[in-house]
């Protein structure tokens, strides 16, 4: 209309605008109500009659206001629409095909808006609408009213698998037969589905000369992950896209099962490449915790790769042929092997007799089987182990007295009975050391320390291929590690024991490196053995599946169990991506599998009209116009009141507050959002540095976790109260600080709760903390995990977080608080430092070794204040008090005085931070008392 993208639903109503002049005339001679004026001189004017009774005219601005009001109402009633969809007078039914595979999830909102715009436009034109969700099950297509179609459209969600559009061809054909003049609109994601070009070719045949509109982004914008590989020292993942789309770089993030981020890796596509890789270079134990890798910000199921047990670190099963005495673990070879393997592998111990243990471990799908000093295996077990090895398992054997006494066939070389003693009491030889590793050996490159001495070994028969099977040999050329390939697997034999009876090799770092290289050779277990027997009939039910956006949900109703643990197909509608089976041995099903590629669709056969994915942004102007008319009506009312003199009464009564507020409110309604944005932008960050400098106060680090921060604040507030009551110190309100931004030099003590899910502080923040600690400040790191930490002694996530954080800091040697440390004497005399938990250890900077004359002192201290105190007792939670002084968290422990002790510990720490080693001078007290006595 008039070149503007504006149309009216009911244009006839606009004829009412012709009545505006009449309204103008009427309004002009209908003046506002006369005002009442009290006027004393009236009584002497009784004879003075008004000369002219013609009323004054309505002021022009009021007239204009009312005319505008009327005009707005008329225009609003005509139903104006800004940017309407191109009107189609054909009234042909509309068939809307909507791609809802994971490739559409990234910009799903735009797609939905576009689809609803199309449907609303059809509704205005009175056309029927039929909807097809391309990734869903093919169902018969029913033309419905636009309102019903809109309702149905809202129920659509992106589905987490690659769509197969071909089955929809049949319903579409039937629909097109029923309504031959239908117009087809396809809101496409531009990515070829399982069927490739099949859908387009089928549709092109059916379409004949019908109008087809394909709505798609200019370039398919979806990114996806296809395959995760856990090789060598890193975990790599493939990022693919259908065509170059400008999204050339990004971040993939690895998360664990609880959705906590573990590592980020950058990726970038080179030029027009459609695939690239990203590698996570993280330690094995972290790599093994990775359960999910996703492209950050993509928000689609295709951009999520789930990682199951198959991609994880090797599982190593240990079997010892002898009996191991639990009381003397150092005598067992397994002790050394386990210590060497545990950083890089998952250790499983076999239980029971050798045969049972081996069978059990193979059932547990170990990829490396370690037999330490196992002589011969019984026939059945030997069969299983052989099968295990031939299917790709790695058998690692260690020699020993039993193997020396007699061996089975599962050794790489023929062995001589008995062993060879070197450097024994009855031998002239000295212990032999290793020869440098040859180039063919997998150990090539490892340095051989001189100290290694082999006192006893098993000798191999000098066969022709002995040299080629030897990975390591002694200085005199006798093999010490041999290996042989059997089937797909490998048998490796150490010609010495795993313990220190034959050599000191297990004590060296070389042993660790050798075992690490050997286990790295083990292939991923191919699920043999026990699996082979029941893999066919073992079904695993979905436990946790992804929705189209790539977030975990409970499995949908149509999700079905996969029938084999070997399921390595793409996800389908029946088998949505997710974790299948029990928690500890989940099977991951992904939307894409390794080697998948995304292909762009070629729409040329359709001969279709192409449209961009940008919505027309149709705006129904009725609501704003009615609102505007309402506002004008309000203004008119106020103006009439004012002209009639009533506004003065009103304001007199309300002291101008109400009307003024209303006017201000109206102004805010109009200009509010913009003004607010400006105000926020212009507000400079104000930090109360001067306040911080004027009053001594406790400080805590704002971690970003709202609950932890609130606990820290409440905790320090509680400690502040206690300090004020019991000591001469009157601290100010505790303050939360951000070490990256705030000046921290003012605070004597900083409480830093560790939250594992928060990112590591920036390098700058770490440097400032370093400077703070070197400058005499004390930082309490609280991992808060004394209760939740694994009892096995492994490091908790918080502990790991703390370690990573402190890795670049210059941290002094630490020790648990010794009983005579001055920290235990500064105000109260304490044994340990309790918090919410009482079991955690508290670490401080190690004191210098006790000198002779100090041994009698009750308290010792170093030269300064320990810059760091590490605890896991969650101190702040024990100190935390609410607004009425009530404790916020219960303490965990049996001691009823634990909270009191926690406060005492806090007082001691604050006193220590403030007074340093002053209390250590308590040493003089006995002498002083003695003098006083005289």
């Amino acid at each position: 209309m008039l070149g503007l993208p504006l149309t009216f639903t009911v244009p006839l109503v606009l004829t009412a605008l012709a009545a505006l002049p009449a309204i103008w005339l009427l309004l002009r001679i209908t003046p506002p109500q006369p005002k009442r004026v009290d006027f004393p001189p009236l009584k002497i004017l009784a004879d003075l009659r008004p000369e002219r009774e013609t009323p004054a005219r309505t002021p022009w601005w009021l007239l204009l206001l009312r005319l505008a009001l009327a005009a707005f109402l008329i225009i609003a009633a005509a139903g104006p629409i800004w940017n309407p969809m191109a009107a189609d007078s054909s009234r042909a039914p509309l068939l809307l095909v909507l791609d809802n595979g994971f490739a559409a999830a990234h910009d799903w909102r735009e797609r939905m808006n576009l689809a609803s715009e199309r449907i609303e436009a059809a509704g205005r034109e009175g056309r029927t609408v039929a909807l097809v969700a391309a990734a869903g099950e093919p169902v018969a297509i029913e033309p419905t009213s636009p309102a019903a179609a809109l309702e149905r459209l809202r129920s659509f969600q992106p589905l987490p698998h690659l769509p197969n559009r071909q089955p929809h061809l049949e319903p579409i054909r039937r629909y097109l037969e029923a309504s031959p003049d239908a117009e087809i609109v396809w809101i496409s994601d531009g990515v070829a589905g399982v069927d490739g070009q099949g859908f387009i070719e089928g549709l092109a045949q059916m379409a004949e000369d019908r109008r087809i509109t394909v709505v798609k982004a200019e370039r398919a914008s979806a990114l996806a992950l296809a395959g995760v590989e856990n090789t060598g020292g890193q975990l790599t993942t493939r990022i693919i896209r259908a065509e170059p789309n400008g999204r050339d770089a990004g971040i993939v993030r690895a998360l664990d099962l609880k959705n906590l981020p573990l590592a980020d890796a950058r990726f970038s596509f080179e030029g027009n490449a459609t695939e690239t890789t990203a590698a996570f270079d993280v330690p094995t134990e972290i790599r093994n915790a990775i359960a999910r890798i996703e492209v950050l910000g993509e928000g689609s199921a295709g951009a999520v790769s789930l990682v199951d047990e198959r991609g994880k670190r090797r599982r190593v099963g240990l079997v010892f042929g002898g009996t191991s005495d639990q009381a003397q673990p150092l005598l067992s070879p397994l002790y050394y092997i386990e210590r060497a393997l545990s950083p890089y592998s998952e250790i499983r111990h076999g239980r029971g007799a050798v045969a049972d243990a081996v069978s059990q471990l193979i059932d547990e799908q170990v990829s490396v089987l370690v037999l330490a000093d196992v002589g011969g295996l019984d026939r059945e077990t030997l069969g299983r182990v052989t099968e295990f090895v031939e299917n790709g398992g790695l058998l690692l054997r260690f020699a020993g007295s039993r193997l020396a006494a007699g061996n089975d066939d599962l050794v790489p070389v023929r062995l001589r009975r008995g062993g060879r003693n070197l450097g024994g009491t009855l031998s002239w030889d000295t212990p032999k050391t290793f020869a440098p590793f040859t180039r063919e050996s997998p150990f090539f490159g490892l340095a051989v320390p001189d100290e290694i001495g082999v006192r006893r070994q098993i000798l191999a028969e000098p066969d022709g291929d002995l040299a080629s099977r030897t990975w390591a040999s002694l200085a005199d050329g006798t093999p010490i590690v041999t290996a042989d390939r059997k089937g797909d697997g490998l048998v490796v034999l150490f010609h010495v024991t795993g313990d220190t009876t034959w050599s000191n090799l297990p004590l060296s770092g070389l042993f660790v490196d050798m075992l690490r290289r050997i286990t790295a050779l083990a292939g991923a277990p191919n699920d043999v053995g026990a699996e082979a027997r029941n893999a066919e009939n073992q079904t695993v039910a979905p436990r946790l599946t992804l929705d189209g956006y790539g977030t975990f949900t409970s499995p949908p109703a149509n999700a079905r169990a996969v029938v084999t643990r070997d399921y390595a197909e793409r996800a389908t509608a029946e088998h949505p991506p997710g974790f299948y089976g029990p928690v500890d041995s989940s099977l991951a099903v992904n939307a894409l599998v390794a080697g998948d590629r995304l292909a762009p669709l070629n729409y040329a056969p359709l001969n279709a009209r192409m449209a961009g994915l940008v919505g027309a942004q149709t705006i129904d102007l009725r609501a704003p116009l009615f609102t505007l008319a309402l506002v004008l009506l309000l203004i008119d009312t106020l103006a009439s009141l004012w002209l009639g003199g009533h506004l003065a009464n009103l304001t007199g009564r309300m002291r101008r507050a109400g009307a003024g507020a209303a006017l201000v409110l109206a102004a805010l309604l109009i200009t509010g959002p913009a003004a607010n944005v400006e105000a926020q932008e212009q507000r400079p960050p104000v930090r109360a540095n001067t306040d911080a400098a004027l009053v001594t106060r406790l400080a805590y680090v704002i971690t970003g976790d709202a609950q932890v921060d609130e606990t820290s604040r409440a905790g320090l507030a509680g400690l502040t109260q206690v300090l004020a009551q019991r000591t001469a110190l009157q601290p100010g309100e505790p303050i939360g600080i951000d070490p990256a931004r705030d000046e921290i030099a003012f605070y004597p003590l900083i409480y830093w709760p560790i939250v594992a899910s928060r990112p590591i502080p920036s390098e700058a923040a770490i440097r400032r903390i370093d400077a703070f600690m070197k400058g005499g400040g004390t930082v309490i790191f609280d991992t808060r995990d004394a209760f939740t930490a694994p009892s096995s002694g492994a490091t908790s996530p918080e502990g790991q977080h703390l370690r990573r954080m402190l890795a670049t800091l210059d941290i002094p040697e630490l020790e648990p608080v010794p009983a005579d440390h001055v920290l235990t004497k500064t105000f109260y005399i304490l044994d340990n430092f309790m918090g919410r938990y009482a079991t955690g250890q508290t670490w401080v900077e190690a004191l210098p070794p006790e000198t002779e004359d100090e041994s009698t002192r009750p308290a010792r201290s170093g030269d300064g204040v320990s810059p760091i105190i590490i605890t896991s007792n969650d101190l702040a939670a024990a100190w935390a008090v609410g607004p009425r002084g009530e404790a916020l968290y219960p303490v965990v422990g049996s001691d009823p005085r634990q909270r009191e002790m926690a406060y005492r510990g806090g007082v001691n720490i604050v006193m220590y931070a403030l007074t340093g080693n002053y209390k250590a001078d308590q040493v003089h007290v006995p002498a002083l008392l003695e003098r006083l006595g005289q």
Binding site: P34, R36, V37, F39, P40, I44, R52, E53, P55
Partner: protein
């Protein structure tokens, strides 16, 4: 457009504010002494010494006894000191009497946002201040129909209390027609929004024995300029009469002519009786009117004014 305000009945009575304002105003006025020679002999006493022997209370002088005088006039204590007889003379103390009347009718309780104060407030302040000035100058102030003349030092409080106690006068537009003594003076403070004929009758009644007086016409600026426009309903405060006017601007022109004529008639009437008319607009300071009244009273009585 001016906004107007009408005071309630209670607000038309003088309060502490008015009294204090009046005292402040009176302090700013120059000291005034009515010239003694122009003051007619009067039987009434005043605190105002005339610097000559006469009827009074304070000692003036001893003079030798003249034969033929009444013997009781001899001051025996003084005469006992020597052989001659003395007569004790007192200073002649007389006072001028000023009668006040302050209009407190509903029409006075009116103010607009152009004015500094309402008409009644200004009228009361003016009246009390003048009374205070006169009393301090040794004269006596009375209130027409309410209070006999007196020379109390607390004349403002006394007058204010009298006005508060008298609620009947709240309806009166004009003073009572009580004649006052020939040499007394009357100060009538009102808006004089009554037909000129009625005013003339009252003034005639007061001055029937030859007394003179001053009319102080307190006017709100709105009453003078009528700055309204558009349609309006005018409402009278006393009779409840309303007048609807269609176009205030054109009516305002007629009104201004009419009010000018009213004043002209008033002045003519006053001039004939030797009275004066002072028009005081409430957007002007009160001291302006007070000074003018003092000057007029002094001039009519031949008084001198000097610095305090």
């Amino acid at each position: 457009m001016a906004r107007v305000r009408v005071l309630s009945e209670d607000a038309r009575l003088p309060g502490r504010t008015e009294t204090e304002n009046a005292l402040t105003l009176a302090q700013r006025m120059p000291r005034l002494v009515l010239e003694a020679r122009r003051v007619a002999a009067s039987l009434s006493h005043g605190v105002h010494g005339r610097r000559r022997a006469g009827v009074g209370e304070s000692f003036w002088q001893f003079r030798p006894f003249v034969a033929g005088e009444a013997a009781h006039r001899i001051d025996w204590r003084r005469s006992g000191r020597d052989d001659r007889l003395y007569v004790r003379e007192r200073e002649w103390e007389t006072a001028q009497t000023i009668w006040f009347w302050i209009d407190r009718s509903a029409s006075m309780g009116f103010s607009s946002d152009l004015a500094q104060a309402s008409k009644i407030e200004r009228g009361i302040v003016l009246g009390l201040a003048l009374a205070n000035c006169f009393v301090e100058a040794g004269e006596r102030a009375g209130m027409l129909g309410l209070m006999a003349p007196r020379a109390s030092r607390r004349i403002t409080e006394v007058m204010a209390q009298t006005m508060v106690a008298d609620r009947t006068a709240l309806e009166d537009d004009l003073p009572p027609q009580a004649p006052i003594a020939p040499l007394h003076e009357a100060v009538l403070i009102s808006d004089f929004l009554s037909p000129p004929r009625e005013i003339a009758t009252v003034v005639e009644g007061i001055s029937s024995r030859g007394a003179r007086g001053h009319l102080v016409m307190v006017v709100d600026p709105v009453e003078e300029t009528f700055p309204f426009q558009g349609q309006a309903i005018l409402h009278d405060l006393e009779d409840g009469v309303s007048l609807r006017i269609g176009d205030a601007v054109s009516w305002g022109r007629a009104y201004r002519e009419r009010i000018a004529r009213h004043r002209a008639e008033l002045e003519e009437m006053a001039r004939r009786r030797g009275w004066t008319v002072t028009i005081h607009r409430t957007d002007r300071p009160a001291s302006e009117a007070a000074l003018r009244i003092l000057t007029l009273v002094s001039a009519s009585r031949g008084a001198t004014m000097g610095g305090r």
